[in-house]
Amino acid sequence: MQQVVGSNGAMHLRSTNCEIRNLTPCRLSSRASRVLLAISVAAHAPAILASTGGPSSTPSIFNPASTPAAEIHRLSLFVIAICLAIFLVVFSLIVYSTIKFRKKADDNQEPPQIYGSNQVELAWTVIPILIVVVLFLAAARVIHAVEDAQFPPNTIEVTATGHQFWWEFQYPASAQIRCPGRSDSTSPCITTANELHVPVGAPTHIVLLSADTDHSFWVPQLAGKIDLIPNRRNEMWIEPHDVGHYVGQCAQYCGTQHAKMLLNVMVDTPEDFQKWVQQQEAPAMVSDQVAAGRKVFETNACMNCHTIGTIAQGRFGPDLTHLMSRTTIAAGAAPNTQENLTLWVKTPDAIKPGCLMPAMQLDDQDVTALVAYLMSLH
């Protein structure tokens, strides 16, 4: 892959990469992007390497799959092109002058003493000013397009709340989420954690709040990052073009386990999204087979922090009503399997040292029952 330097080869590698990821071939509209494909290839090399061992999940900013990220991508290629041109010119000047104006060993004459030149100095003042103006206009256009966007009526609304060290997502009732059987219109219709589901092809408007310290919502392929700051309401939006699973993570240092505050965004087809919505709207599973585990949950401190349907209303930890609809636990720190759930309940620090979930000191029988109960929460 390192040998491929031509733009055709790079294009080929790019689309291969996209196919692996179940995406439609990447859009490469502008001419500038062709010029800079070599850079993209460099940036993609690890993604391609990783893809041999399984599904790749490199959240490269050069592989956008959503409107704001694509806008930023186009701007970034333009800015990189200008910077690369400036670099080549000035670097060549430096290299040329170090080679050309070396002192010869036998030359003991001082060179002509030049103190400056008004024309030259004027030129290298005015040209940078012009470049700065162009860059400003290009950036201002994208700032306006992203920050001042208007939303159509089919927009999905989500409130994302950052917690140490996990994400809470709440969907109020909207055109696409009808929220049956919910009379109280102010409470959210769906509450979930760490895995955001959105439909492809429609905008999703995300309100960003924080329950404790600063966080930052960053899924590079979908949009730039915006911080979640306590006592402040921020907003962002995404409009994914391609179905897929996009990864990101908290990008503002928020405490001990900042590193394992991962984000997973599932961009679903409209049908799959509706299925997911219906599943999330359903009440919590109640099964007599796992009554013992449910009793463990209800008689321990679990219910102080976690919500499960109407059984428990804790708000400090993630809502577990439909825990098994999620692929990971502990904000993406581990796959959602029986072994990991058991380990997580017994010793949370083994998966995520410094997290705020306490080890409940349950005996093995209780842990087994509790995990069986948790695994019934589809």
């Binding site: 690890p46 390497l49 990783a50 790749s56 999940s57 900013i61 930023i72 701007l75 970034s76 800015v79 200008i82 910077c83 670099f87 000035v90 430096i94 002058s97 104006f101 070396r102 002192k103 001082e110 060179p111 003493q113 030049i114 103190y115 400056g116 290298w124 003042t125 940078p128 700065v132 860059l135 400003f136 950036a139 994208v142 700032i143 306006h144 140490q164 404790d212 310290t213 600063d214 930052s216 960053w218 590079p220 949009a223 730039g224 990052k225 915006i226 911080d227 700051i229 306590p230 006592n231 402040r232 907003e235 993570q249 990008a251 240092y253 405490g255 001990t256 386990q257 900042h258 590193a259």
Partner: protein
């Protein structure tokens, strides 16, 4: 090179090597000294010790990040390491080093016998030293989160509300606040002192327009210190009030604002970058002309660019905050102001190249570091332009791209400038030359290490790796790059070791330098090496920007052209 006649022969008292006197007496002399040269050396040495300590912290972090899912250090320890690394490098390595250069060289360059306020000078140094001791005492004295020791873990910009008592129990954050508060007082004193010295102590004939660019750039640096440290001090006092007196400035649970802290911090933090980089510019502006055998190209526009960088740098701070959700107008304003600072900075780079152009370049170690500085600062400026485009920053901000960018500024720019200056003025300070062979080993090792580490560090940022994470998953495609980045650290460490060895060896065994080994043109080379306590027996009188050129070339003096 023609040996220059000193303008005024120094009183011929050979400096006694201190080894001949009792150790206690030597220590006492250094501790009670108010001499600008000794304080300059103390500042510099203090900064180098901090640089090594901060470098060790960085090395541990790079060892942890070399592999995915590594378990070398715990998250608590890692968070302390990056907090201490950043705080140490900015406040206790870079600041003392630049103050050291200014302290030692400004009075010599303007033909003065000392700083304007010698005792304030000593006070400033000891306050800075005390601040660092307090910060590091946290390792043993701070009672932090359980099982985790003690040093602060809030990041070097300590965003609220992570610093509030609710999220930062114990006293680790207090050590950070108080340590920086105290060293900040010292910095303000030294800034005031440098400014006053330059404005009031110049020798006869040294008009502002005849000062060496080194002095001009340190003038602007001192002005920025006076303006920029105050907001940080104020914010830290407010944070102390929040933590201990029930204030709510940054207490978001009680209606305070986390964003106000960011504004306070970065209104200090961005000028701080220029406080550190202007002295590096200052070194480069002296070294490049001497080793190109030409005067600086476009002195007037260089001064104008320096002063305008000083002013513009006060209006760009919120480019550190493009992701906090400012309005589109605010974001656009800070794009414009940030991009505008590229203009005077670009002028400087062009003028340095213009100085080399048509010269006869001598590739001694100081010049090598300056040429590397030019290329690296060019790249640092261009990645800065990328980050200045706010939407691009929404992707790159707080990623490893930013880490790579500002290490390019601080290592590729400032530290290379510092090494250039260290090689250039070592003969003046000690009277002996540093070894050129070892100098070139140092240069190439450090250059290779620097580029391995910081060139490749841009890439994980572009691939979505955020800063300040103690570990990452293997599936993200970041591990190859991180491994290369970590390996580069070894070369950098070797380079610095060679330099330390070179300094020690040359101090005892270096070739005797004489007063003007580089055939240079500014006043400090007219006095003996090392200079006597009083610098100049008689105050020099100058007629141009290059007094020693005038002396060496009476047939073609500079003052005819100014």
């Amino acid at each position: 090179m023609a040996d220059a006649q000193p303008m005024v022969p120094p009183l011929a008292i050979p400096q006694e090597r201190e080894g001949t006197r009792p150790f206690v007496q030597v220590m006492h002399d250094w501790i009670v000294t108010v001499d600008h040269k000794r304080l300059g050396l103390m500042y510099f040495s203090y900064g180098i010790v901090a640089l090594v300590v901060g470098g060790i912290e960085a090395s541990i972090m790079r060892a942890q990040l070399a592999f995915a899912n590594n378990h070398l250090v715990s998250p608590e320890v890692f968070n302390r390491l990056f907090t201490m690394h950043g705080t140490t490098m900015i406040f206790f390595a870079a600041m003392p080093i630049v103050f050291g250069f200014a302290n030692y060289l400004v009075p010599l360059m303007i033909g003065a016998r000392d700083m304007a306020f010698p005792r304030l000078n000593a006070w400033g140094f000891w306050m800075s030293a005390l601040g660092g001791v307090i910060l590091y005492f946290s390792f043993v004295g701070g009672f932090g989160l359980y099982g985790a020791g003690s040093a602060p873990d809030v990041g070097w910009f300590a965003y609220a509300p992570l610093t509030s008592p609710a999220f930062s129990v114990g006293h680790s954050t207090d050590y950070w606040i108080v340590g920086l508060l105290i060293s900040g007082f010292g910095s303000i004193a030294t800034g005031l002192n440098i400014m006053t010295t330059i404005l009031c102590m110049r020798c006869p004939g040294m008009k502002l327009g005849r000062m060496p660019l080194f002095v001009w750039m340190n003038t602007v640096m001192a002005g920025l210190v006076l303006v920029a440290i105050g907001p940080l001090t104020a914010a830290q006092l407010m944070l102390l009030i929040d933590r201990y007196l029930g204030g709510h400035f940054f207490d978001t649970q009680a209606g305070g604002s986390a964003v106000i802290w960011m504004h306070f911090f970065w209104i200090f933090g961005h000028p701080e970058v220029y406080i550190l980089v202007l002295p590096a510019f200052a070194v480069v502006s002296e070294v490049i002309p001497v080793f190109s055998r030409k005067p600086i190209f476009g002195y007037n526009i260089m001064v104008a660019a320096t002063v305008s960088i000083g002013f513009i740098s006060l209006g760009v701070w919120a480019h550190h905050m493009f992701t906090v959700g400012m309005t589109s107008y605010a974001n656009a304003f800070f794009v414009a102001s940030t991009a505008a600072i590229a203009v005077p900075t670009g002028i400087k780079i062009f003028n340095w190249v213009g100085t080399m152009w048509g010269g006869k370049i001598i590739f001694k170690t100081p010049m090598l570091f300056c040429i590397a500085f030019l290329c690296q600062f060019l790249i640092a400026g261009l990645t800065g332009i990328m980050l200045a485009a706010a939407p691009f920053d929404w992707q790159l901000g707080n990623s490893y791209f930013v880490i790579a960018h500002f290490h390019y500024v601080i290592l590729g720019g400032i530290v290379f400038g510092v090494f250039a200056g260290a090689y250039y003025w070592f003969p003046k300070v000690t009277g002996r030359m540093m070894s050129e062979t070892l100098g070139k080993w140092h240069f190439w090792l450090f250059l290779i290490g620097f580029h391995m580490t910081f060139d490749f560090m841009h890439i994980p940022g572009l691939l979505g790796m955020p800063r300040r994470i103690y570990t990452y998953e293997a599936s993200r495609g970041w591990e190859t790059w991180n491994l290369i980045v970590s390996i580069g650290v070894i070369f950098q460490a070797l380079g610095v070791l060679v330099w330390v060895f070179n300094v020690i060896r040359s101090y005892f065994k270096g070739k005797i330098a004489g007063s003007d080994p580089w055939d240079a043109w500014t006043l400090e080379w007219s006095t003996s090496s090392p200079p006597p306590d009083y610098n100049y027996a008689e105050l020099p009188v100058i007629r141009s920007r290059r007094p020693l050129w005038d002396l060496k070339h009476p047939e073609d003096p500079d003052w005819k052209y100014e």
